[in-house]
Amino acid sequence: MHKEYTEKELEVIIGLEIHVQLKTKSKLFCGCSVGDENALPNEHICPVCFGMVGTLPLLNKKAFRLAVHAATALRCGIAQHCKWDRKQYFYPDLPKGYQISQYDEPLATNGMLEFFIDEKTTKKIRINRVHLEEDAAKLIHTDDVTLVDFNRSSVPLIEIVTEPDFRSASDAKMAVKELQRIIRYLGVSDADMEKGHLRCDASVSLRPIEDEKLYPRTEIKNLNSFHMIERAIQYEVARQKNEWMKGTPPVHYQTVLWNDTKKRTEFMREKEQEADYRYFPEPDIPEIELTECLQNELLAFAEEDMQLPTDSVKEYMHLGIDYSTAQYVAGDAPLMKYMSQILEYTHDDRKFIQELSKWFAEIFLSLIKKNSVTNIHLLPEDFVTIVRAVQKKQITRSVGKELMVEAAYKKMDVISKIDECSRTDEVGGRDIEKIVDEVLKQNISLVEQYRNGKTKVIHALIGKAIKKSGGHIPVEKISQVVRNKLHI
């Protein structure tokens, strides 16, 4: 292949393989504890996960349930029948010399992940499969030896493999973000990338547009943050583009590590073809048949008509909530609950919802960023009451804002407080009567003009009164008082 391609002639092909650690109490095949962040090295081990002779794997029911839950959320078909297989290779982090995984009969296939790339557009990428497997131990490389900690050995993971449907690094990043949100929303995993609950490998290749076949890809491992996912893929795309443009496209599959300090990939190993893992069905674990009984058990824990965050965003936007607020709320269960309670008081009034949405975005979000929504004292109905009071001009916007902030931090009778503000016209100790008297005194010429028939000057007087009041008093009120005083 000597043709030197131009950038425009090339298409980017990206696929992802994501591993998610499931939120169970115990490991996938034994009763050792999972998720103890204060654990000492090799504290949570037993003969089974340590790969001792004479031990047998004992399948964790909750792990299976969470895996099915996640796969269902990814719109996969759940297999009527699935089984486990031994994937064989030697490595110090693999105690049995094989990993128990799922090969040709995984628990789910053919799904779809939808995510927003901007306010108006969603993308859908296909999920090839979701399967359940055990994690390996952790290796720590020091100067003179490599240390092995088996606490992580046999922790339950789901592996999610996408089709190579991504066409840009940013799409890939956004998809993983969406996946994280879904996983967290379902309670399947904490999916904290820093803690290694969610790990991503990306496979990158290019091809001439219109070409149907796939060219040798580079698999990038060790992508531990969204930044890294985007940067590493961008780097590799650029690198490969260069090769294609020079007329020397890649001819070997290879696996690389992303070095985030040096901002480049490092060659790990070359594979001419897939490694020979000598898969065969795991004899020690009875197979899974999705009997009616098992299905009922799994469904008992799943929510009826589970709505994904992306669908919630669409629904919110349809009701009138702005995109950014919708995205912020969707997938956050307590926040969604709060929002739905707010919406109960709106009677689908789209304009009002838009107004509420603005208040949510401008004021409420900063409140819950400091303090979780569950610690906010402001009740949803009071939120609505405040916004409505401002809309009806009972109180000014800035009074409403102050009220909202105050009510967030301490319990108060919001309705009475609003009443109080609008009656006394005295917020911050400002007396509207006094203000207008002062303004009329300071602007005798305007008053004269008004009395002589130039009625339009009333607006100037009102304007001065507003300015003097510092915006704490509703315009209508000021206007009313000015008119009253002028007509006396």
């Binding site: 794997p57 105690p95 065969f280």
Partner: protein
């Protein structure tokens, strides 16, 4: 007591203990003394637990003296094949790799026997990891046949069989994957039961082939076998492949069966002209003894018998290549001192620790599973296995049990077959098909040729240990073969 204590059966010993004719200490001492007096000529034991056993014996005697009721196995000394893990007691699997390995837990079967009050007196020699039919593949020494010490005791549970034949313990636990209890039982002239797959927990058994391994008793007769089986059988939540049917009280029911009308199938493929004439006659004579008791004899055909061995070895080697991968020197077992890299730790440790047969089977298994060959060997064998199971199922629609020889020959001389591995594999010709189908199969001694024991297999439908034991017991009621002991002094 005219009889020497080590010659007692479990039932006899139990009665003697209950009647206070003997003490546990006397019984255990007798068996241990037996080990010390003759095992140097036999090499059945790798580890002897005399101190521990005697301490337990004292405890049990105190219980008996205090008037506590004891079970059938309380105070009964036994040995366990060295693939069965015993907490705090060296367990080698017959391999240099595990020469100094001290298991951190007991196998479930050991826990059961502990609870029953049985007393472990030692761990017995075997072909390393169960890979063999003669005990010549033990990394330590060969176990000699009690009837002729120039010959093998059989394998892989050779030590266990020799121990029972010579009264070094009143029963033994062995392990059978393709014939490893039945064949040595046959060579040593004792009773040995391969249980249905899943009848007894595999937790704590150093695995050979996960879809074939079983743990079972070697005893002097069918009754004793039933007693031990009752103690070790049952569902275990540490082994998800144990069957859920509650096992029957085998000992209570063993003599209750009326043999009249029981249909015995004789598979013609097991009695071809290639079979030694004398073995053929001895087994047919045994069958006639059962006919006299009212059994109906019928010929059946099991044509897939001819491919049982390649089917078995493809699967067994594949599974063992995976099961032995954990022996990498990192977490337990032998670790080389010569390695500069992790790769070298693996290769060097395994080269130093694993014997030739283990390496050979790993190579074979790795090949059978490798890309390009997987379908041709491993998967093909698993499909043929399905056909074999169906063949047995059809046969059991017509008959209640199948009877055939256990081995085509009596015990061969040490070194006779070890030069050619393929020839050794052929020794398993009669036992492997039953293993592939997971069927309960017992070896019952039924004759002698030139003072060497001949055994027959009685096989039953999956999970029907009861009928198999009952037929064995019925046979014992009209014969004395099970009472004959080696003449070694």
């Amino acid at each position: 007591m005219i009889m020497k204590l080590h010659e007692l059966t479990i039932v006899e010993a139990h009665n003697a203990l209950v009647h206070k004719d003997i003490s546990t200490v006397e019984l255990v001492t007798a068996c241990i003394a037996r080990i010390y007096s003759i095992d140097n000529r036999i090499n059945a034991f790798i580890t002897i637990l005399d101190e521990e056993a005697l301490a337990q014996a004292h405890t049990i005697d105190a219980k008996i003296a205090a008037g506590e009721k004891i079970g059938m196995l309380t105070g009964i000394p036994y040995s366990a094949k060295d693939v069965i893990m015993t907490e705090g007691v060296r367990t080698t699997a017959g391999s240099n790799m595990l020469r100094e390995f001290i298991p951190p837990f007991n196998a479930t079967v050991i826990e059961h026997l502990n609870q029953a009050g049985a007393i472990l007196i030692g761990k017995t020699n075997c072909d390393a990891y169960g890979h063999g039919s003669s005990t010549e593949n033990s990394d330590f020494f060969v176990t000699r046949n009690p009837h002729d010490t120039t010959r093998v005791a059989g394998g892989s549970s050779g030590g266990a069989a020799a121990a029972v034949a010579l009264g070094m313990g009143l029963f033994a636990l062995g392990e059978d994957t393709g014939g490893s209890i039945r064949q040595p039982a046959s060579f040593c002239g004792i009773t040995g039961l391969k249980v249905s797959y899943g009848r007894v927990s595999r937790y704590g058994i150093i695995a050979y082939a996960s879809s074939l391994d079983t743990v079972g008793p070697l005893t002097k007769n069918a009754e004793d076998c039933a007693i031990v089986l009752s103690a070790i059988a049952g569902r275990d939540n540490r082994d998800h492949t144990t069957v859920h049917e509650t096992p029957t009280d085998y000992y209570a029911a063993i003599k209750k069966k009326d043999m009249h009308g029981l249909r015995i199938g004789i598979p013609v493929e097991y009695f071809t002209k290639d079979l030694d004439r004398e073995v053929n006659n001895i087994v047919m004579e045994a069958v006639r003894k059962l006919k006299v008791q009212g059994c109906v004899i019928e010929e059946v055909s099991l044509p897939l018998t001819s491919v049982a061995i390649p089917t078995y070895y493809s699967i067994a080697a594949s599974e063992t290549s995976a099961n032995l991968a954990r022996l990498d020197g990192i977490r337990f077992g032998h670790r080389t001192t010569l390695a500069q890299s992790t790769e070298e730790v693996f290769k060097q440790s395994r080269m130093e620790g694993l014997g030739a047969e283990a390496q050979r089977r790993i190579m074979l298994g790795t090949y059978a599973l490798s890309a390009g060959y997987h379908d041709e060997y491993y998967k093909k064998a698993q499909k043929v296995r399905t056909l074999l199971r169906k063949e047995f199922e059809s046969a059991f629609k017509k008959v209640d049990v199948l009877i055939c020889p256990t081995s085509p020959f009596t015990a061969f001389r040490i070194g006779e077959k070890s030069a050619n591995p393929a020839e050794m594999y052929l020794a398993d010709i009669y036992t492997t098909a039953f293993s592939l189908a997971g069927l309960p199969t017992i070896n019952v001694p039924c004759g002698y040729i030139s003072d060497l024991p001949v055994g027959m297999q009685i096989a039953g439908p999956y999970t029907d240990e009861m009928t198999v034991l009952q037929v064995a017991a019925a046979f014992e009621q009209v014969t004395d073969w099970h009472k004959k002991r080696p003449s070694i002094s």
